[in-house]
Amino acid sequence: RLAGIVRPGGDMQWCFSQVKGAIDDDVAEADIISTVEFNHTGELLATGDKGGRVVIFQQEIENKNQPQFRSEYNVYSTFQSHEPEFDYLKSLEIEEKINKIRWLPQKNAAQFLLSTNDKTIKLWKISERDKRPEGYNLKEDDGRFKDPNNITSLRVPVLIPMDLMVEASPRRVFANAHTYHINSISVNSDNETYLSADDLRINLWHLEITDRSFNIVDIKPANMEELTEVITAAEFHPHQCNTFVYSSSKGTIRLCDMRVSALCDKHSKLFEEPEDPSNRSFFSEIISSISDVKFSHNGRYMMTRDYLSVKIWDLNMESRPVETYQVHEYLRSKLCSLYENDCIFDKFECCWNGNDSVVMTGSYNNFFRMFDRGQRRDVTLEASRENSKPMQVLKPRKVCAGGKRKKDEISVDSLDFNKKILHTAWHPQDNIIAVATTNNLYIFQDKVN
């Protein structure tokens, strides 16, 4: 069912499906979406926001007989995952913003996810309740206790149907293990452990144990004045439970094998591409910092995102990426302005489609980009309220880098740098994508004829 963005006979077309979130332009800071993640079947879609809330959408299972109408995602559960905290020792406020959500593979009727802010990871259980017990012997239905002297008979309580209630409860809280700000969490393929990474350290946890974790990477120098790089992202290999990677602010990726030693400060592989000297500038270091790293589903490749490009690496080749895609090369001459308005520090994420044939990442002006690896085609699309009619096909967009602007093109200077798409997600088994603008979540699907 999965295909690239180009089908025989023409380009794949993407259609608007849904948009979630407030319509008004005045964005409340708490509503800013900070992470988006499908679960392993794609039935559930979770978002986290700056206000510490998690909203889970569920795809309805209707219309299975009519494939042209894919089911919609509706709100399934909303809960406050993290609250703002204050670290009294350091006189610092700890933001409640959800940095990452990762789903656990489903093992029973309930769903589990990990959500993290800068300092604390929580395991949430999301379970359904559609029955309630009635007919207790010792208490009334409203909970008041009966007078035991008035009880003359015994009955067996029965479960009667009720309106579906979805409850989220925190099952584990993994706290006090990170001195610096957590940027990543990743569940291991063994389904028992997971890692959490901050700027200088990576810790390994067991999902059942909250009072201790193993430190597996520590790049903190003895003298902080010698600090030259920080960890920016980390992820476990999808199949090999002993392997993980972490990316750095210097543009390198290290692959580590936990079987080699308990402390994985020495990498097994170091992926680094030599810098192009002709591109040297004040800002070379900032734009080479990797903001996201993601393994392909098949585990043979990994993708990294830096400020201007997406790179695909073959795990067997450390010297350079096998593919490089320019996301918005027209920004290279604007780096100074982007430094002044802070956009150069934006951390874009990236994602693979289900069969690893297409990769996607966000850009500015609410544009997002897809790169079809097989077909060597790419497309720029826009998430906007203007293109939000049901099943409206998205028109490819084009940015004019210089010279004469053609009709329908947009010039670089007209781009709205406040409208950035940092978080995108692709359904693991279908051509459905979730794209987060500042405070809205757009769901697009491919046009099925």
Binding site: D87, L89, K90, L92, E93, I94, E95, K97, D118, A175, N176, A177, T179, Y180, H181, N183, D199, L200, N203, D211, R212, S213, F214, N215, D218, N223, M224, E225, E226, L227, T228, E229, V230, T232, S249, R280, S281, F282, F283, E285, I286, S289, C336, Y339, E340, D342, F345
Partner: protein
């Protein structure tokens, strides 16, 4: 490099330094505390800009309007970074999580730029590194914001007692070593 090109580069470097320093100041009041990654990137940009600034000032040479030459830079004595992150207090390596966390969030880099100089600035002989401003050459670069404290409404400013000031930021910039030369672009 021609004199005009050097001046342009100089002006650009100064502007970037000014922008960077104001970003550093602003990040002190950010919710969630100083971000290590961001601070590191800012310091890298500042270091590039500082190196370009100084090398282009040297290149200005005879066309320079400064009446007195700059104080010689102290190379090689200190491998530390310019606006690197300050000394953290020692903290326990957590194999077991402890409820106590040592305080080690980076403070303002500006406050600690002095701590990275291995030489003892407090006890130097006056002839070598005087804190007195000796004219334009050793004045603080004009892109730096004023170091005077911001007054709350109703407060008045009093003259600071003699001998209590630290070295001006300008002298810090010239005195710190260049441990890396970033090739001009």
């Amino acid at each position: 490099m021609s004199a005009t090109a050097a001046m342009e580069v100089n002006a650009e470097a100064r502007r970037i330094l000014a922008v960077s320093i104001s970003k550093l100041y602003a990040s002190r009041t950010q919710r969630g505390g100083l971000r290590l990654h961001r601070s590191l990137l800012l310091s890298l940009v500042m270091r590039s800009a500082r190196d370009i600034y100084h090398s282009s000032r040297e290149n200005e040479g005879p066309s320079c309007a400064q009446p007195t030459p700059e104080e010689p830079m102290d190379t090689g004595s200190n491998p530390g970074e310019l606006t690197g992150l300050p000394e953290p207090q020692p903290e326990p390596q957590p194999a077991l999580n402890s409820a106590e966390l040592a305080s080690e969030e980076p403070d303002s880099a500006e406050e600690d730029s002095d701590s990275e100089i291995t030489e003892d600035k407090e006890n130097l002989s006056p002839t070598r590194q005087s804190r007195k401003r000796r004219g334009k050459a050793s004045a603080a670069p004009d892109f730096l914001p004023s170091k005077r404290a911001r007054l709350e409404p109703g407060e008045e400013r009093y003259a600071a007692p003699l001998g209590s000031c630290r070295a001006g930021a300008g002298e810090s910039l010239t005195a710190l070593s260049l441990n890396r030369v970033i090739p001009a672009f």
